[in-house]
């Protein structure tokens, strides 16, 4: 069943990349929806049945009954089914303060050179001129307190910017030592940024570094979709495409209604290569 898929879309591809990172020996705090939660649910179905994660509502280690009703990802019976513990938001924050959260998985509207997170506004904040979004929600707590944060966003010029229009949740802020100066626990921070096209890590100077690339794009295509030039690792990892098994689970058990994955372009396997499908 682990044969590479011949047809999938960008969203499915990036969810699979993140799902494959998930390991049973760590505790995760997962953003309560979208790609982050889909990735955790996929991992739990495919290769990490004992995965333990928290969400903002203070659920600890549920055995979720997928699929969920639309938006019913927290404080809902199927999402929180047979958990190890049911608590509330301040408890989840306490657990993260204590250092139990190894990884946080988050989506962001923008990411800058230092991996900061924006879920507040694209454009100018003052006067409400920019396009406004919901706010940090739980992301600030995760980005501040998880040992390592995994971000997911789109590969678009307006999403990879020199400096976020707004820092809703902390990446490395403006560089080494900045998190500690701001009162955040040492040794924490961004670890990876995933887009459907590429994977980034961070250099010791806390700056974004291109480390992996999807088989259906070139490095130049990735760099064209960034407003700044990132560092580039000497050797780039190839981001393997979804397997048939992963897609089957994702499409039939997790994102049945396509609420998460019904965006982005489709990729097909043609003449031995992965290329964007002309639709």
């Amino acid at each position: 069943m682990s044969t590479p898929a011949a047809n999938f879309n960008e969203r499915e591809h990036v969810i699979c990349q993140i799902a494959r990172l998930v390991e049973e020996r760590y505790i995760y705090w997962v953003g309560g929806g979208g790609e982050p939660l889909s990735a955790a649910l996929l991992a739990k179905q495919v290769h990490a049945p004992n995965l333990q994660y928290l969400t903002e509502d203070g659920v600890v280690g549920p055995e979720p009954l997928v699929p969920f009703d639309p938006l019913m990802t927290m404080i809902a019976a199927r999402a929180n089914y047979r958990a190890l513990q049911w608590q509330t938001m301040n408890y989840a924050a306490d657990v993260a303060h204590l250092g139990y959260v190894d990884y946080g998985i988050l989506a962001t509207l923008q990411v800058d050179r230092y991996g900061n997170v924006n879920s507040t506004v694209v454009g100018k904040y003052e006067g409400g001129e920019g396009r406004r979004f919901g706010g940090p929600g739980g992301a600030d707590t995760i980005a501040a307190l998880a040992w390592r944060t995994i971000l997911v966003t789109d590969q678009q010029k307006r999403k990879f910017v020199e400096r976020n229009d707004f820092i809703s949740s902390p990446g490395f802020l403006d560089g080494p030592g900045a998190r500690e100066r701001a009162g955040l626990p040492p040794g924490t921070g961004p670890w990876r940024v995933y887009t459907p096209w590429a994977m980034f890590g961070y250099d010791i100077d806390c700056q974004l570094m291109l480390q992996g690339i999807s088989p259906f794009v070139t490095v130049d295509q990735v760099l064209e979709e960034m407003s700044f030039r990132p560092k580039i690792a000497p050797k780039l990892e190839r981001l393997e495409v979804p397997t048939e098994e992963e897609l089957m689970v994702l499409r039939t058990k997790i994102d049945v209604a396509g609420q998460v994955t019904d965006r982005g372009r489709w990729i097909e396997h043609r003449d031995g290569k992965y290329v964007f499908a002309d639709r």
Binding site: E56, D69, A96, E129, G135, G138, D140
Partner: protein, 323 residues
């Protein structure tokens, strides 16, 4: 303990002594029956200009029926504790009830965006957990609590938080100001007539909201006897003395879910979300708020028996949600 940096936003006055005085004089220390209708509770306890907190949201075990009543009664100038919420906050702003929001997370549709541009609505920036921590400080009778998140964000400058030097470790640490909301709306699974209330499953900050707020309206799916409450005291999430009104609100979270009792109504959820994203709740408010005079009439005429039966049936999980 040096102050290193301070947010510039206006925040609800921190006054633990004033809150203590209120608790002594106005909270019902003795067990007295507080059963009343949605209308009575909101008329009596929600006032124009109040700082209002509600727990959970319009889709998950939230006080949806009370929020509709607040809009129906045309309350004005509310300051909303906007944590872990979506359309409830948008409804209050678009319903003309609210003009200030402390944001953790809200459904920020085009309507609120316009209100902000037109300076009809003021926004302060926090995060969900910083807001629940502020409520926890209020619920502990303290003026502030420390936190190790929120520092370094652009939200910090637009909040009431401070960065200080911790006198123990000498490291920088965030302080968050307590909130004691004027009024709180909390929907629970079970309550007795005095307000001893049980929430089953996870939650956001129902106990903190109840203990931190000057006036507390609890709406309950079921009214149970005090004998039943005493049968399992570990299940009591909220004690009677924190509660000012108990409203019997079966299906009070509709179109949302109450874990273990009923599922959400997906079309009802989509209808509300759609209106929010379109930036026009007019039709939604007419149908779901103004067309009826009470929650009972709403269930009868707008929701209907078949829908109620369906959402009950679709919630197949009971484990952990009953005693």
């Amino acid at each position: 303990m040096r102050i290193l940096q301070e947010g510039r936003a206006e925040y609800l006055k921190v006054d633990p002594d004033g809150y203590r005085a209120h608790v002594r004089e106005h909270k019902p220390h003795q067990m007295v029956s507080k059963l009343m209708t949605h209308r009575e509770a909101v008329e009596k306890l929600v006032r124009d200009g109040d700082y209002i907190a509600y727990d959970c949201n319009y889709f998950q075990r939230g006080p949806a029926s009370l929020i509709r009543e607040v809009i129906r009664q045309k309350k004005r100038r509310l300051w909303v504790c906007g944590k872990f919420t979506y359309v409830a906050c948008a409804l209050l702003v678009e319903g003309g009830c609210a003009d200030r929001i402390d944001i953790g997370f809200i459904g920020f549709g085009p309507w609120i965006a316009r209100a902000v541009r037109e300076k009809k609505c003021t926004i302060n920036e926090y995060s969900n957990a910083i807001m629940t921590l502020r409520l926890k400080a209020g619920a502990m009778g303290l003026p502030f609590l420390p936190a190790r998140s929120f520092g370094g964000t652009d939200g910090f400058e637009r909040s009431g938080c401070k960065l200080v030097e911790d006198p123990y470790t000498k490291q920088p640490i965030i302080l968050v100001p307590a909130i004691n909301p004027d009024v709180a709306l909390i929907h629970v699974h079970q309550a007795d007539e005095y307000g001893n209330a049980r929430v089953f499953g996870t939650g956001i900050a129902h106990q903190e909201c109840a203990l931190a707020s000057r006036r507390v309206i609890v709406s309950a799916e079921e009214i149970v006897s005090t004998e039943e409450i005493r049968r399992d005291p570990a299940r009591t999430s909220i004690p009677h003395f924190a509660v000012d009104a108990v409203v019997h609100a079966p299906f009070g979270a509709y179109p949302g879910t109450v874990q273990g009792y009923y599922a959400c109504d997906p079309p009802g959820v989509v209808e509300a979300m759609g209106a929010m994203y379109r930036g026009d709740f007019t039709e939604y408010l007419n149908k779901h708020v103004y067309s009826v005079g009470s929650h009972e009439e709403y269930l009868e005429k707008v929701v209907g028996a078949a829908k109620i039966a369906e959402i009950r049936r679709r919630e197949t999980i009971r484990e952990g949600y009953c005693i």
